[in-house]
């Protein structure tokens, strides 16, 4: 048993997918040329007045509700003061005393009866981007990102392993994606996560000294950084040394954390109410309206899929992971009866083909009705599962009736005994050596002949029948 137990808390920043910034009308577009999306407000010029973006406000309420938070009756904004060139005002407009949501929780894998506690969800503006000149003594500042609306989600120190941290982030991301309020794209920095971790003697109530971790750019990186820190701190503690409170940066190349050189007194932000922004009330009526509008969230959907469609945890998870696939699944079930068959067809075949053809899932033109029809054709033995996959490839981008399509393209499965027998004759004639090999006891020759028949019929022959008829023919001849 481990002598030490890790206690982890996470802080997640997510860009809300609004068109314009949180307090001004500049675009939030990613990848524009430097400093081309700024205005006096987000540049922090004197005398300007920020006004809150309605959509950002609503999205923050939705996320708080989805994370089971108590939503504040009224909120205000505060100035978080720090001096850094990515922040032209020298303060960030954030929320301190009255976050949008408080005391929430999120159920995660293996902890459905003990969900991870969430401390708060609040709104703030993002800072700009700094690019450090590797050789010289200067940094380049791009303020396009300044003022993009963020929600910050802070968990309680209620996560007890790197795997749990990973599972939490996955569940949080899927939940936010279901709300359609953010794209959570880590590569573009629209989801960022910092962690804090301390170790304590197993069984202790009191928390150990906290280390803050930054610079993790993937969920995997977060898990690795936490694993590394557990190792590092365990060694320190076992040797009777103390862990000192500090911020450490994860280096994904060296796979280790290093202490951040920082002269700034951490947490000396001197928050105070921002007099430029007014109070925002969130009435019961408004809260209830948003609550009613929440979609079925991933955890609930997974449970329902398991119960209603007799799916395994694994299958339910695969389906629910993408909101589009989950709803496509249920739509297809209106036309085809077997949930497991639809699940497999979607999660392995359709997702695979879409990926291969570089089609976004939500842009698929094949309707659930036609998808159900394909599976019905397989069930009725009219096409093989192989043909079904080919249909998926051909029809994914079109609204075409698969029944008509197989008629036109002659893809119907060959089920007529006489027809198949004819092809078998041809195949055996063309490959007499394989026939001889089989008769001399080389069993693999049979497989080869089946393959030849399938080739001659362009894959439309019913493979079970080919096997059976070929066996009959070869063994009968042998008996002669």
């Amino acid at each position: 048993m481990n002598k030490f137990e890790p206690v982890i808390g996470l802080e997640i920043h997510i860009h809300l997918s609004t068109e314009s910034k949180i307090f001004c009308s500049c675009s939030t577009k990613f990848g524009n040329s430097p400093n081309s999306l700024t205005c006096p407000i987000c540049l922090g010029l004197p005398g300007v007045l920020p006004v809150l973006n309605k959509k950002a406000f609503h999205y923050a309420i939705k996320s708080s509700l989805a994370l089971n938070c108590q939503v504040s009756e009224s909120i205000t904004f505060d100035r978080k003061n720090y001096y850094y060139p990515d922040l032209p005002k020298n303060y960030q407009i954030s929320q301190y005393g009255t976050p949008v949501g408080r005391n929430g929780f999120l159920k995660i894998k293996n902890r459905s009866s003990n969900p991870v506690k969430i401390n708060r969800v609040h709104m703030e503006e993002d800072a700009g981007k700094l690019i450090h000149d590797q050789n010289g003594k200067i940094s380049f500042v791009d303020l396009n990102r300044t003022g993009i609306p963020l929600i910050e989600i802070v968990t309680e120190p209620d996560i007890y392993s790197p795997d749990e941290a990973y599972d939490f982030l996955q569940e949080l991301k899927i939940t936010i994606l279901y709300l359609e309020i953010a794209d959570c794209n880590m590569e573009e920095g629209s989801l960022r996560c910092d962690a804090n971790i301390s170790l304590r003697k197993a069984g202790d109530k009191k928390l150990g000294t906290k280390i803050e971790l930054k610079n993790m750019n993937t969920f995997k990186g977060i898990r690795q950084a936490l694993e590394y820190e557990i190792q590092r701190q365990t060694i320190l503690l076992e040797e009777g040394e103390k862990v000192t409170h500090q911020t450490r940066l994860w280096d994904p190349l060296k796979q280790k954390t290093t202490s951040m050189r920082s002269k700034e007194d951490i947490h000396d932000y001197r928050y105070f109410p921002d007099p430029d922004l007014l109070t925002y009330e969130i009435s019961n009526k408004m809260r209830n309206k948003f609550k009613d509008e929440l979609p079925e969230l991933p955890m609930a959907k997974r449970e329902r899929f398991k119960k209603d469609y007799f799916l395994s945890e694994y299958d339910a998870d695969l389906l629910v992971r993408d909101k589009f696939i989950a709803s496509y699944f249920e739509e297809t079930l209106k036309f085809h009866i077997n949930p497991k068959a639809v699940c497999n067809f979607l999660t392995s075949d359709m997702v695979g083909v879409a990926h291969e053809k570089k089609i976004k899932l939500s842009n698929i033109k094949l309707t659930p009705k036609n998808c159900g029809k394909i599976l019905n054709l397989v069930k009725e033995g009219l096409i093989s599962i192989k043909t079904a996959k080919e249909l998926l490839f051909d029809l994914l981008n079109y609204d075409i009736d698969p029944e008509k399509y197989i008629e036109e393209k002659n893809l119907k499965q060959m089920n007529e005994t006489s027809e198949i027998k004819n092809v078998i004759e041809t195949a055996c004639k063309e490959n007499s050596q394989a026939v001889t090999d089989y008769k001399n006891g080389k069993n693999s020759a049979l497989k080869f002949l089946v393959g030849q028949v399938m080739r001659l019929t362009k894959g439309t022959a019913n493979p079970a029948m080919v096997n059976k008829l070929l066996n009959e023919k070869l063994n009968k001849e042998e008996g002669k």
Binding site: T18, E19, S20, S25, C26, S27, S33, P34, N35, S36, L37, T38, C39, P40, L43, V51, L52, N53, K54, K55, A56, F57, T76, N81, Y82, Y83, Y84, P85, N90, L130, I131, H132, D133, G136, K137, I138, S139, F140, V141, D142, L143, M260, R261, S262, K263, D265, D268, R270, P273, P275, L277, L278, T279, Y280, E281
Partner: protein
């Protein structure tokens, strides 16, 4: 509470201000005078009064999420003491 010269110096550092000894002296005495006045205010009973964040009698002032043209990068960088390739250039900070 007394505002010592150390507190003024620390606050100055947070704002990246270099303060001379004379200035530290001056500002700590001025800040202490302000705090004395706050001490007076503290004697007023405000038990049942909600804090005033803003004197305007307005609530829920929101803007619709629409994009309007931004400044050009030339305009945005016009007052910058140093710039390069459409970036602001600043001394390297860790």
């Amino acid at each position: 509470m007394q505002i010592s010269k150390e507190i003024v110096s620390h606050t100055g550092h947070l704002a990246r201000l270099h303060l001379s000894d004379d200035e530290l002296e001056l500002y700590s005495s001025q800040l202490n005078k302000i705090l004395e006045y706050i001490e007076k205010l503290k004697k007023i009973d405000i038990t049942n009064i909600a804090p005033t964040f803003n004197v305007l009698n307005l609530k829920n002032v929101l803007r619709v999420d629409t994009v309007r043209p931004s400044l050009t990068s030339e305009e945005a960088l016009k007052n910058a003491p140093d710039k390069q390739d459409n970036f602001f250039v600043v001394p390297k900070v860790y």
